[in-house]
Amino acid sequence: MNTERIDQDAGHPEHVPGYVGSGEVLMRLDGVSKVFCTDELETHALSNVRLDVHAGEFVSIAGPSGSGKTTLLSILGLLDSLSAGTYALAGQSVSSIEASELPRIRNRQIGFIFQSFNLIGDLSVYDNVALPLTYRGLPAAERRQRVEAALERVGMSHRRKHFPNQLSGGQQQRVAVARAVVGDPPVLLADEPTGNLDSRNGDSVMELLSELHAGGATICMVTHNPDYTRYATRTVTMLDGQVVAEQAQTPRLAQ
């Protein structure tokens, strides 16, 4: 094992041996802090986080509950703002982006996968998957073609008319994956995607993510499961809002 303790002041390592990626920095966090102020309490969810994610990387994030993993993902996904520091997405500083532009960037650049699937109960499988394309304003024909392809990819075509509550958890999460990738976003953010699944279903979702990674997607995934960490090209460990360890590795490839 090749563990390297990252010194906060030592600058970012430009090359971590063993990662698979094109080398170009896609997301760069520098000195990022996030403070939640509730009533009298100030919670430092993130403190001075520095993290680069390169195109084509598969980053696995681990850490105890409350260590700031979800907060980190939400900032990477433009769902939340920073209290301090800078965040550059594809070379552009996020703070310079108009708030009204954020939805468009989320829609095109980022796909989300949640622990609790977060499908919309009133919409069919098909409509759930089509949603990002609808927001993108794609014409119906193209939308249909891409939704079919995405469903095909996750093996859920035969359930396209079902409603989420008619599916098992594993099936729901595959639909959620289809929805995340249907718009071909360069970045996938997954917060404990297997957290609510049994191991068989969890495995198959991980296979899917691994395939997507092999197909060129950049993935940031929170997981506690050491088995699934192995799919990543790099693991990041968080504690009390800080990145305390990073480790590059050779990923186990999808079978």
């Binding site: 939805p103 989320r106 609790s116 977060n118 927001y135 509550n165």
Partner: protein, 805 residues
């Protein structure tokens, strides 16, 4: 039991913790329950509760009819025949209402309504006096001393409830009368068919030979059925008697008889309005229930977490349902309590408004039965709407508990359907109610535009009545002096007098014949209204003279007898002919031919919403004196400001004469729409309540829906939805419900508005304008109720999608 108190305590704490929810639910319940209680109380008092007489269902009123008159007074001769020939009516009695002047000492004389009653009158009602006695047979013998029985009200007002009043004397129309008895407080037989003014006192009926004639219709007749006899049977018998009289006497040829129960007679004029109000308040109650149902539903669902934990801790489903029921019960009792306050206030308001028709005849007090009814309604409401969310909450919890270790795919569609149903229902009900109110309001606006035929502004009216035994000469002299004095008052422009001004609901009429035309067949003799006016009447009222001339100072006693007729009369009897110079003769003025010298425009006789026009004949006062006249004062100032000056002039001429029925003609015109404006006010009140309830109800349900779906909104935002996308999502969903609610409501209105038809004037029950305005108004209100939560939805923090574990 211990569980119950535990639930109660928990429920109370919960209500305190969410004051917004509690306040809106209690308010909705209070409005719905209070409104229902008030109107049901009134309706039952008027329509259901028996009159305060023993075996009151056996009491009937008997009227004569003519083909064009559904209900008219009875002549003494006919009354005697009815009474003597009937076997099914146990007792029958007549009363003749007279305006009397009550005065003694230095006090102002007061106008009272006296009932001169035939023997048996009090026996018909089976009511005993509380003080003294009623009239002995002696009292009816000619030449006996004058005696009177007081109403409770007069006894209270003028005799200070003196228990020793028996034998005391007082002055009535200048004559000494002796009190022999006092009737109980709830004995309030009214002096007219519309049941407006109860009699102040009673005297034995003495009629002159002329007054006894078969053609002199002036009595109201009441009867008591024999036990076991139905109204239908009595009606059949009276019809037979009337038919026999019609054969026997030519003057009776066309006359029939009308028998109604006293109850029916009293309730009939109020029934249409009360039924409409009852329907309206029923709709309000439904809306209030839907409103509270929605609130309870929302709360029940937002407490799913709590229920899940309770279930997990081993609470049975029945236990949870019971807890919810206890809470709902608590809520509805609170609402019911406040509802009683609302009801008391509404009943006060309504009895005040209907005082003319209701309170002086039947006292309305909230009774324990109705109170119980209102509480039952509130508890039932609580039960029904407690059970609905309780069932759905406990069911959904079990389902969710089974699903993939607590993960959920947002809310299922089942509850959403119920919620959408409530929104559509509330809106539809509000639309229906608003259209009802709108149609009434539109009718009212139309009526405001109706021209009564005279200028009612700046016009004061009051009545004076000289004693019956005053000489004709004195009468003419008195009124001409009074008119001259009043004209001299600053602020007075024109002064005139008439026997019965328009819209007063009193009249005097009779037959007539036309010179050179064959007499009408028996019973076919048409009627004309007899109007006696002083010279300047048309000018003072601003009634245009269409043809010929109005009266002049030459039309006096001793000169040619003249009359002026109205246009309806001219068109009816001289179609295409000039009536000026033609001569006619009336039953009232005897054999003398009267020459028609003018035609004046019609005035509205009965009420603004009664378009019927009567043939009218005006006689100059100096040729046809009456003792009692209404004086009309056209003023250049606010007419009320002249009242004291006018009173001074009347007193200056004759201190014993009461001046009564003092009012402005504007008031008279408004009063002729009195019942209508009042039911309109109530209906609008209910419609407004409905709008508020529906608006807040829809807002509440949608706001709740937004909060329920905040996670979905977060997901959508994470997927790239813009603020506008989210807002549109909720607005479009809301708009669909609005359209559905409007369509259902408009459809219901088309069906229900027909029941309003009898209350409408100049507006069709399907009036497009009203429907349109209501549809637009409610769309706007509903859209606001939709837009506000939608806006809030678009401000949801997208992080909720990630942080819902």
């Amino acid at each position: 039991m211990e569980n119950f108190f535990q639930d109660l305590r928990f429920g109370a704490r919960l209500l305190c913790k969410r004051p917004g929810f509690t306040a809106s639910a209690v308010l909705a319940l209070a409005l719905g329950i209070g409104g229902t209680t008030a109107i049901v109380t009134l309706a039952s008092a008027v329509l259901l509760r028996p009159l305060p007489y023993p075996d009151s269902e056996r009491l009937i009123a008997i009227w004569e009819t003519l083909p064009e008159m559904r209900q008219g007074s009875v002549s003494d001769a006919n009354f005697r025949d009815f009474r003597d020939q009937s076997t099914r009516v146990e007792s029958m009695a007549a009363v003749y209402a007279r305006d009397l002047s009550l005065g003694y000492g230095d006090e102002d004389p007061e106008r009272v309504v006296g009932g001169d009653v035939s023997r048996d009158f009090f026996r018909v009602f089976a009511v005993e006096p509380t003080v003294g006695r009623t009239f002995s047979d002696d009292a009816y013998a000619p030449g006996r001393g004058r005696v009177a029985v007081l109403s409770h009200e007069l006894w209270r007002r003028r005799f200070g409830r003196d228990p020793q009043v028996y034998g005391k004397t007082f002055v009535l129309n200048g004559q000494l009368h002796r009190v022999v008895g006092v009737m109980p407080a709830d004995y309030r037989v009214a002096a007219d068919a519309r049941q407006q003014a109860p009699f102040d006192l009673f005297r034995p009926l003495h009629l002159s030979a002329e007054e006894r004639g078969r053609g002199n219709h002036m009595l109201q007749v009441y009867g008591r059925l024999r036990p076991g006899v139905s109204v239908e049977q009595a009606r059949a018998e009276m019809d037979t008697i009337a038919a026999r009289l019609a054969q026997q006497y030519p003057s009776q040829a066309e006359r029939g008889v009308r028998v109604r129960t006293l109850k029916e007679q009293f309730a009939a004029p109020l029934r249409p309005a009360l039924l409409v109000l009852l329907g309206a308040v029923g709709l309000v109650l439904l809306i209030a229930c839907a409103n509270v149902g929605g609130l309870l539903l929302a709360r029940g669902a937002s407490r799913q977490g709590e229920f899940a934990i309770r279930l997990a801790l081993g609470a049975g489903r029945r236990r949870i349902v019971r807890q919810l029921l206890t809470e709902s019960l608590l809520l509805s009792l609170l609402g019911g309590g406040c509802g009683v306050l609302v009801a008391l206030w509404l009943i006060d308001l309504v009895t005040l408004g209907l005082a003319e028709q209701l309170s002086r005849v039947i006292p309305v007090e909230i009774d324990l039965g109705i109170l119980g009814f209102s509480l039952a309604v509130s508890v039932l409401t609580g039960l029904v709407f407690g059970i609905l969310p309780a069932l759905s909450a406990s069911r959904s919890e079990v389902l969710l508990g089974l699903k993939d270790g607590g993960a959920r795919a947002t809310v299922g569609p089942g509850q959403g359907r119920l919620r959408r149903g409530l929104i559509v229902g509330e809106l539809a009900l509000a639309v229906t109610l608003s259209i009802g109110a709108g149609l009434m309001a539109h009718s009212f606006v139309k009526l405001q535009g109706v021209d009564p035929g005279f200028d009612e502004h700046n016009l004061l009216t009051f009545r004076v009545a000289l004693p019956e035994d005053a000489e004709d000469r004195e009468v003419v002299a008195f009124y001409s002096r009074l008119i001259d004095r009043l004209k001299a008052l600053p602020g007075a422009q024109e002064v005139a007098a008439i026997n019965h001004p328009p819209l007063i609901r009193q009249n005097m009429n009779g037959g007539f014949s036309i010179e050179g035309r064959p007499p009408w067949g028996p019973g076919q003799e048409p009627l004309t209204e007899y109007q006696v006016v002083t010279r300047d009447y048309f000018r003072a009222m601003k009634i245009p003279v269409v043809r010929g001339r109005s009266f002049s100072e030459h039309d006096r006693n001793g000169t040619t007898g003249v009359v002026v007729i109205n246009e309806t009369m001219a068109n009816l009897y001289w179609p295409g002919e000039d009536p000026i110079g033609k001569r006619m003769r009336t039953g009232w003025t005897g054999d003398e031919w009267k020459q028609i010298v003018g035609v004046v425009a019609d005035t509205t006789r009965f009420s603004l919403d009664n378009t019927r026009r009567a043939a009218e004949t005006y006689f100059p006062f100096e040729q046809a004196q009456l003792r009692a006249m209404a004086v009309m004062v056209r003023t250049s100032v606010e007419p009320r400001s002249l009242v004291e000056a006018v009173r001074g002039q009347v007193r200056g001429l004759d201190a014993t004469l009461p001046m009564y029925a003092t009012q402005t003609m504007e008031q008279v015109v408004a009063d002729s729409l009195g019942d209508r404006s009042f039911s309109l006010l109530l209906l609008c009140l209910f419609a407004l309540t409905a709008l508020v309830l529906a608006g807040t109800g829809i807002y509440g349900l949608l706001a709740y829906q937004v909060s329920q779906r905040s996670r979905e909104v977060g997901i959508r935002m994470a997927l790239g939805a813009r603020v506008g996308d989210v807002r549109r999502l909720f607005v479009v969903e809301g708009a669909k419900l609005i359209v559905a609610g409007l369509l259902v409501g408009l459809g219901t209105s088309v069906v229900l508005a027909r029941f309003l038809e009898s209350l409408l004037y100049g507006v069709s029950a399907q009036d497009g304008l009203t429907f349109g305005i209501v549809a637009v108004l409610l769309s706007v209100i509903a859209l606001v109720a939709v837009y506000v939560p939608a806006r809030r939805a678009s401000q949801i923090d997208p992080m909720v999608a990630l942080r819902s574990e």
